[in-house]
């Protein structure tokens, strides 16, 4: 649970509860984007975010997201475990 993995926002699936579907290395799951709400309306489709325990905690640019994904892939076991846990997630 210690990792923060980059994902790209595909769609806002629940406006009221601030849930968005994200693509994390090909795994598509719902996460909360409520922590990134701001006066500009918060996260938008296409944004890259760092995701930690089912919550987007920071916005990053695409180059940063790619570099972080590459770094995490190098972490092997803990990254794979994190992705497996994400696959088991079903946030509504």
């Amino acid at each position: 649970m210690c990792l923060a993995i980059p994902g790209q926002v595909l769609e806002i699936v629940d406006e009221g509860n601030r849930l968005a579907k994200v693509d994390v290395a090909g795994v598509k799951r719902n996460v909360s984007v409520g922590l990134l709400d701001d006066e500009d309306g918060g996260v938008a489709v296409g944004d890259w975010v760092l995701i930690h325990v089912g919550f987007a905690i920071s916005r990053v640019d695409e180059a940063e997201a790619e570099a972080t994904l590459k770094l995490l892939a190098g972490m092997e076991e803990s990254y794979e475990q994190e992705l497996e846990e994400l696959k088991g997630s079903s946030i509504e």
């Binding site: 923060a4 996460v31 803990s78 997630s89």
Partner: protein, 371 residues
């Protein structure tokens, strides 16, 4: 420089390594502490200690949330899970952490209903889907994770979910650092600060380290180049005689942190009078509990827990590892009685723990020997 080719920008990596060399004061030994377990992991995965000159020693700090949970709280979680009609939801990292008699994994094998979840929102869904069961989320983590629990509790209250509660073990990063800095033998020259915690709290909670304790502090990202760059920034401050809090990870961690996350935490949590840290003992005002407005969702108020303080096993030196007093391999049981498969201490269980990082990347060599 065998790992430099893995950097995002290999040339820049070599330049930073050269700058580090140029900043060293002849004859001086530098001890720098990386606080976050994620940094420890990167340092060993990418062999950064091999890249650094001998004069720069990296010491691992207390920033692994799994590592700092005391045994008594694991026993409490197991007691919760053992109750009739109760489901305990927890992060996978907690399953193999030893309690005084067993782990959560052992308890699950013995029939307790324990579910591994990716997110506190998954725990909330389990509660919604199982109204006949009392679902307790075993919350752990520093300020990176606490806002996620906070928003989850806000939603549970809005939904009036009567069968959901939180066994709160969230901790805050400032008090253990202050406790370490107050140790008379704590000879750390500067800190590589935790990047993900800083996305939430910003730089403010670290200002005291520069202002009151005269140590430089640089918040860093998690790529090997980020860590090297932060080390270079620390050495530059020391060379210039400066002492400041700087941010190397501005691209993800704004100086002011995340105001939404800070507000959510302030609404849902309040500080505990005191909390026990594994290896560090009781630290005043170092952990969070649910605020009175959320008392209905507080597992510690809803369920009767043993709440006992359990001393660490005698052989275990996790406390000394967490304080940076010894290196993992200096622990008596490292790699022998204590391995990731059969861990005695939390620093070996958590993949972000300093002992597991040493062990998994084969860095058993004593100082001065080839790795």
């Amino acid at each position: 420089m065998r790992f430099v080719e893995e950097f995002r920008d290999a040339e820049l990596g070599a330049t930073v390594a050269a700058q580090i060399l140029s900043l060293l004061e002849p004859g001086r030994h530098y001890k720098l502490m990386e606080i976050c377990g994620g940094h420890t992991h990167s340092i060993y995965r990418y062999g950064l200690t091999d890249l650094l000159p001998d004069e720069v020693e990296m010491v691992h700090g207390p920033g692994c949330p799994v590592c700092v949970i005391p045994m008594g709280r694991i026993d409490d979680a197991i007691a919760i899970a053992a109750r009739e009609g109760v489901t305990l939801a927890c992060f996978g990292d907690m399953m193999r952490v030893p309690g005084s008699e067993q782990t959560l994994l052992d308890a699950k094998a013995a029939g307790a209903d324990i579910r591994v979840v990716y997110s506190p929102l998954d725990a909330l869904r389990i509660a919604r889907e199982n109204p006949e069961r009392e679902v307790v989320f075993f919350a752990i983590g520093f300020e990176t994770t606490a806002p996620s629990t906070a928003l989850t509790m806000t939603r549970a209250r809005a939904e009036r979910l009567a069968n959901f509660s939180c066994f709160c073990n969230h901790v805050t990063i400032e008090p253990p650092l202050r406790a370490l800095l107050d140790l008379p033998e704590f000879g750390i020259d500067g800190f590589v600060g935790p990047g993900h915690v800083a996305t939430v709290v910003g730089l403010r909670p670290f200002e005291f380290i520069a202002a009151d304790y005269g140590r430089p502090f640089v918040v860093a990202g998690f790529e090997p180049l980020d860590i090297l760059h932060a080390i270079e920034m620390l050495l530059r401050q020391l060379a210039d005689g400066r002492c400041e809090v700087e941010n190397q990870y501005k691209r993800a961690a704004p100086d002011a942190g995340n105001p939404v996350a800070l507000r959510a935490m302030a609404e849902v949590f309040e500080l505990r009078e005191s909390f026990e840290w594994r290896g560090l003992g009781e630290i005043p005002r170092s952990a969070l509990k649910l605020a009175p407005a959320y008392a209905d969702f507080d597992a510690e108020l809803r369920l009767e827990l043993p709440g006992a303080s359990v001393p660490d096993p005698q052989a275990c030196q996790c406390g000394d590892v967490l304080k940076g007093a010894i290196k993992p391999w200096e622990c008596k049981v490292f790699g022998t009685a204590c391995t990731p498969e059969h861990a005695i201490g939390t620093c070996m269980v958590s993949p972000e723990g300093a002992c597991a990082a040493y062990y998994n990347y084969g860095r058993f060599a004593r100082e001065g020997e080839p790795a």
